[in-house]
Symmetry: C2
Subunit: 555 residues, 2 copies
């Protein structure tokens, strides 16, 4: 058997290799990350999108471990769905390796799904080596918008693979150490066969500012705001929560927390020693009543305008404890995840309507990106000096730009692979090539089901556009002829005041369509006649195309 | 009767006063603009959103004219829908006043709707005065991203109202004259009672660059691109089309145009003398075959990723004449209208996949905004020096920021009115106040219907989320008892391979729900029993909530 390294990027949605990477050598297979994506507006009714693990399932006897780079949903969130489907031949779940905070966040998630007891979570310290069959894995400390993030140096018999994970080069992080530049440089000097690097902001010139730059803004806001300061951010952005607590405390404000996921994460982070907070930070919001507004700061969920979040409930005057009032300052310490703009803007508008002053990243320095911009991508390439380069994490245009950057840094164009999810990259002594495709469908989670199919989504889109009309005809089972007058029921099609006359005429259209007798015994023919006649009639009358469902009852 | 001026902003959607402004004095009423908005993702199946004209209809005998500030859809697009509903007591349509290019664009639109012959379109030159009852209206030349844009100075017996329309201060426009600063200043010096000013970019600091700044970029692209250059932009952005033609011609490229609306507008603009183009610019794309790629430039629709546009068809390898190939340069000379990001990004990604180089506003200076930024808003306020200020055109947060700017420029806070659509602002000798509300619903256009109601949209959202299940039961009309076994039909609910067993059990649930005999004669009771039992069962089994439609057939 020739020694070949195989790599397969898998993603939930559009961003290539975002949610999972398969690495395979001889008889061993490891996964990097197991994240989820939130559906876009066209995926009607879908709750989540997770990577397609059918290739991994087919090679389950080779699976050695899942390595998680950091604690964000798009890298950990699929675990509750894929772990039960990735039981090893011995019946156990595969071990999950990650750093300490990442472990804490995963544990919260698995516990919700009652999977924590069964799972095999193992904490790794940066620098430690883990032997996984042919792979020898080392976690390398890196910076991102969550502490305890790691890049991975994966040593294989034919060379080292370096996977950056999500990263930016933050030399003055709010928590933890700066990135381990010297280890990355050392790996580069010894030779790296293949680099996978984060492309999320490959379209952005310059450097991403340090997380610390947000501290100054928060400090000024806490000092100057005439009343309460309410800061919304991501529940997993532990360092930002720390920044808010520090700035508030410095200016004599007591900090309260609202929103379930924010409370859960803060509790875990305090217990694990990642959050340095006053003892009373988890106190009930009731305690707020006794304090003057300028002594209060509140940390909340809802920075993406999520309809059931605490901030959106405040904006809609629907929060049990907090009523927005003139003098309040609301800070959205986040940037919009594409697709959420409408919800976020509506939330901001409603907060202004209630008299609050609102600060958000478009008008104030209340957030910085979590990913490397172009100069940092060049720095990574310059340190790692890979033989082969594969951009990951980003939509196709980001990968394309990152590939162009790599080529401008001297990686030969034939050594740069701009892959799609499911492409199997194969590297051996003779070179590298795309050697086929693995299944890489988008897997939809909807309610209890994993893997909803496209016909269901197509039907939902049809229903969403123009509604449904059900045509009901009773049929004599002996003669095959219609009995009585057809009935019609519609929903989401047309307003009731317009529909009465139309529905009566629709019934007549059905009667006419079924004239001619003996065809009716044939169910397919019945459906076609009613469907076609009714669709044509309704389009003529309304220029709409509702879903037409002919139903016959044999009696 | 006390002499009172009334103003009512009306909008299609979210942006206040965007699509229409009602002005009323004594017995006279005039409208400024009649535009439309495109529905957001939550307005399922809706084609367009237009302003609510019920207040105007109720005062139709007072209506003197519709004034249109410029030729963009969001200021003209509702005309085909509102004109037939705004016939004057004498049966005629109200006169429409506008500048020459605006008239050309409106005529194209009204012709499509077979309304041109009936309409009364009148061209106004800047500086001309129009007497409309108590109002004396003057069009003042202004700059925006379309030529022939106007602000309006509306003289009333109690003072002058200045409405900016959409604007930016472009001192070096690509077409036509710079803004008529001196007339605006003169009006300001004589005294302006009330200023309505464009707030679209009130959240943006500094100045908006001149349209001319795009010329440099286009020039460089046309000179350097190794193959064809394909530029997508708005069909109404006549000046940008001119810029592309100029740059292409300068560098020896022949220009072709594709996309129906682009062809229609270019034809009109050439006829009206607004577009200076070579004779063969409207030639068939066949002619392209004979030219080498570096001699070709193509102007196309699709800059917003519209699914049926020419550019999107190219990106999907679905355009009849143009196949994207390596060496092509595609320029998206536009910015994303909020909500279109997903479609635009997908189009860009697909173009890269086909080997094109893609340039868009995030990574290259291929577009400038069409609206004034903060320093220009201050300049307008400084020139006009209004007694009362009302920000318009923009979502609530933009109005809020614009109001703050006006106050910082010295307009007393009690003279600044941040209105909502439908608010009736009343001004007389004693002051100004919000004196009630006019109807200002969003009016949806869906197929042939104008004014689709909220129940229909709610039902569509329900159907979109989890689909529909129809439960059919035949009932003996004499005994009121079910006959035979119930049937169920579902769409958009659950994939077929999972549904067979579930549907059989659902039928059994219906049978059980209807046990107990004589209730069934009552249709409401039948519906409730089947609906509740089935909903509960399906949620238990799937965690989804399809729309349940019970249908009984009496035989």
């Amino acid at each position: 058997m020739v020694a070949k390294l195989r790599a397969i990027p898998l993603g939930g949605l559009g961003e290539i290799g975002k949610n999972m990477m398969v690495l395979e050598f001889a008889d061993d297979l490891i996964l990097v990350d197991a994240g989820l994506m939130f559906p876009d507006e066209e995926m009607l009714g879908v709750d989540l999108v997770i990577p397609d693990i059918s290739y991994v399932s087919e090679h389950i006897q080779m699976l050695r471990a899942i390595l998680i780079t950091h604690g964000h949903e798009d890298h950990t969130g699929a675990l509750p769905y894929v772990l039960p489907r990735l039981r090893l031949p011995n019946g156990k779940m595969p071990p999950i390796y990650c750093t300490r905070l990442t472990r804490g966040l995963i544990a919260v998630k698995l516990d919700e799904h009652r999977l924590l007891k069964d799972a095999d979570l193992r904490i790794v310290r940066p620098g430690e080596r883990i032997k996984l069959g042919a792979f020898n894995v080392e976690f390398v400390h890196i910076t991102h918008s969550i502490p305890d993030s790691a890049s991975l140096a994966i040593h294989t018999p034919i060379g080292t693979v370096f996977h950056t994970g999500d990263f930016k080069f933050d030399h003055t992080p709010v928590m933890g150490d700066p990135p381990d530049l010297s280890r990355i440089a050392e790996l580069g000097r010894k030779g790296v066969l293949l680099l996978f690097s984060d492309s999320t902001y490959a379209d952005t010139t310059g450097y991403t500012p340090s997380e610390r730059s947000v501290s100054e803004t928060l400090d000024r806001i806490m000092a100057d705001a005439p009343g309460r300061v309410i800061v919304a951010t991501f529940a997993s952005l532990i360092s930002r929560i720390q920044q808010v607590i520090d700035a508030a405390t410095k200016h004599g404000r007591r900090v309260f927390i609202t929103g379930r996921s924010m409370l859960d994460n803060a509790k875990m982070a305090i217990e694990q020693g990642y959050l340095d907070a006053p003892d009373d930070v988890m106190a009930s919001l009731d305690k707020m009543k006794k304090l003057p507004p300028e002594r209060i700061a509140i940390i909340t969920t809802g920075a993406q305008g999520e309809p059931t979040s605490a901030l959106v409930r405040m904006a809609n005057r629907d929060h049990r404890h907090i009523e927005i009032q003139a003098g309040d300052t609301v800070v959205l310490s986040s940037s919009a995840i594409p697709g959420n703009e409408l919800l976020i803007n509506r939330t901001i508008d409603n907060l202004y309507r209630l008299g609050a002053n609102v600060l958000f990243s478009r008008i104030a320095s209340v957030h910085v990106r979590g990913h490397a911009a172009q100069e940092e991508l060049k720095l990574m390439l310059g340190l790692v000096k890979p033989q082969y380069f594969v951009p990951v994490h980003g939509e196709y245009r980001h990968l394309w730009m990152h590939s162009a950057i790599a080529q401008s840094m001297g990686v030969p164009s034939e050594n740069v692979f701009t892959l799609e999810d499911g492409d199997i990259l194969e590297i051996d002594g003779k070179g590298a090539r795309v050697a086929g495709r693995a299944s890489a469908d988008w897997v939809y989670v909807d309610g209890l089901a994993v893997g909803i199919d496209r016909i269901v989504l197509r039907d939902r889109a049809h229903l969403a556009g123009d509604g449904v009309i059900v045509a009901i005809v009773a049929i004599d089972k002996h003669t095959g002829k219609p009995i009585g007058r057809p009935d019609v029921v519609s929903r989401g099609f047309i307003e009731s005041e317009m529909s009465d006359g139309l529905m009566e005429r629709a019934k007549e259209v059905i009667v006419q369509a079924l004239k001619g007798g003996d065809h009716v015994a044939n169910r397919a023919d019945f459906n076609t006649r009613v469907h076609d006649a009714l669709s044509r009639f309704l389009y003529d009358q309304t220029r709409r195309r509702p879903m037409v469902l002919p139903v016959s009852v044999e009696v």
